[in-house]
Chain length 151, copies 2
DNA sequence: ATGTAATACTTAGCTTACGAGGCTTTTGCA
DNA sequence: TGCAAAAGCCTCGTAAGCTAAGTATTACAT
C-alpha cells in the first residue's frame, strides 16, 4: 500500500461510504421539504412507500422491507399509528404477529406524495445518463450485499 | 407518468436515496466492528479521518469537511475531546474560532486504523470494476451537488 | 467611534437509528 | 404431554443527525 493509495482513503470524496452518508442526508432533506406540508416526515415516508405496495404485512416484514431493525421499527410504526396513517392488528392465527394496515387517509396520500419523490429523484439525477444511473443502482446493491452477507 | 414508472419509485431498490441509506448503515457497521476494539466509534472515525490530513483546522471547517452541521459537530468534537483524541484551543487572533488539534495518541491511531477502512472498502467493492467504482463516486458527488445547490 | 451585520460556536429539543436483553406465543421433538 | 427452542415484538440506553434560536466576537459602513 503506497502513501498515495492511503491518501485516497483519507479524502472522504473518494469513499463510497462517505458519499452514501451525505447523499442519504441530502435525499432525506430534499424530500422532507416537499412532504412535510402534508404532515409526513421522511421517516414516515419510508414506511408508507413500502405499505402502498405491500399493505397488511407483519411488523417484522415491514421493517425488513424498509431496511431497519425491529427496534427502530417499533418507534417508527408507533409514530405512524399516532399520526393516523396505520392500524396495528394482532394476527388471529398467530398472536405473536402484528399486522400493519394503512388507513384510508394514508392511502389517499399516495397520489399526492409519489410525484414528490419523483421530483427529488429527477432533480438528483439531472445530467446523469440512464446507463450511469443503472450502474450506480446495481453497484450500490452489490456493495450492500457484500458488506452484509455472512462472514 | 405511467403506472409502471410509478412502481419503480415505490420499489426501494430502484431509489438511489434508499440505496444510499442502507449502504451508509452497512459501511458504518462494518467499520465499527473493526475499529471499536481500538476505542474509536464510527462517528469519531469520521472526524479523525479528516484531522489526520488537516490537523489544526477550526471547528467550522472540520464540520464542513466531515459533512455535518456545526450543531452535530459540537457533540462529536466533545466526544473526541472526552476520549482524549483532540484538544480544543481558542484562536488567539480571533477568539470566536476554536482550533482542533490531534493528541499524540490520536496520531498513532492513524497507522492502525487506515488499513481497516481499506479493508472495508475493498470488501464492499469486491466484484466491481475500477471503472464502475469511478462512475459511482462521480455520480454520487453529482447527485449530492444537485440536491444541495441553491436555486 | 459606534451601531449593525456577519461569523463562530453553543444549547435545546426533536428524529432516526442501533444493540442488548426481556416478554409472550408458537413450534418441534423427546 | 411437556418443555426447550425459536419467532415476533418491546424496552432501555446510547449515538448521530437536524433545525431554530442564543451568545460572543469581529468586521464594516457611516
Amino acid at each position: 500500500m503506497t502513501k498515495k493509495n492511503l491518501i485516497e482513503y483519507l479524502e472522504p470524496i473518494h469513499s463510497v461510504g462517505y458519499l452514501a452518508r451525505i447523499n442519504f442526508r441530502a435525499f432525506s432533506k430534499a424530500l422532507e421539504k416537499l412532504i412535510e406540508p402534508h404532515g409526513v416526515s421522511a421517516g414516515q415516508w419510508r414506511f408508507l412507500r413500502v405499505l402502498w405496495e405491500h399493505d397488511g404485512v407483519t411488523q417484522r416484514e415491514l421493517c425488513r422491507k424498509v431496511g431497519i431493525t425491529e427496534a427502530t421499527g417499533v418507534k417508527g410504526i408507533a409514530s405512524l399509528a399516532a399520526a393516523g396513517f396505520v392500524k396495528r392488528t394482532i394476527d388471529t392465527r398467530d398472536k405473536r404477529k402484528i399486522i400493519i394496515t394503512l388507513t384510508p387517509h394514508a392511502r389517499t396520500l399516495e397520489a399526492k406524495l409519489i410525484p414528490m419523490v419523483v421530483e427529488v429523484n429527477e432533480r438528483a439525477l439531472e445530467g446523469i445518463t440512464k446507463k450511469e444511473a443503472d450502474i450506480v443502482r446495481r453497484v450500490l446493491a452489490k456493495t450492500y450485499f457484500n458488506l452484509t452477507k455472512e462472514n
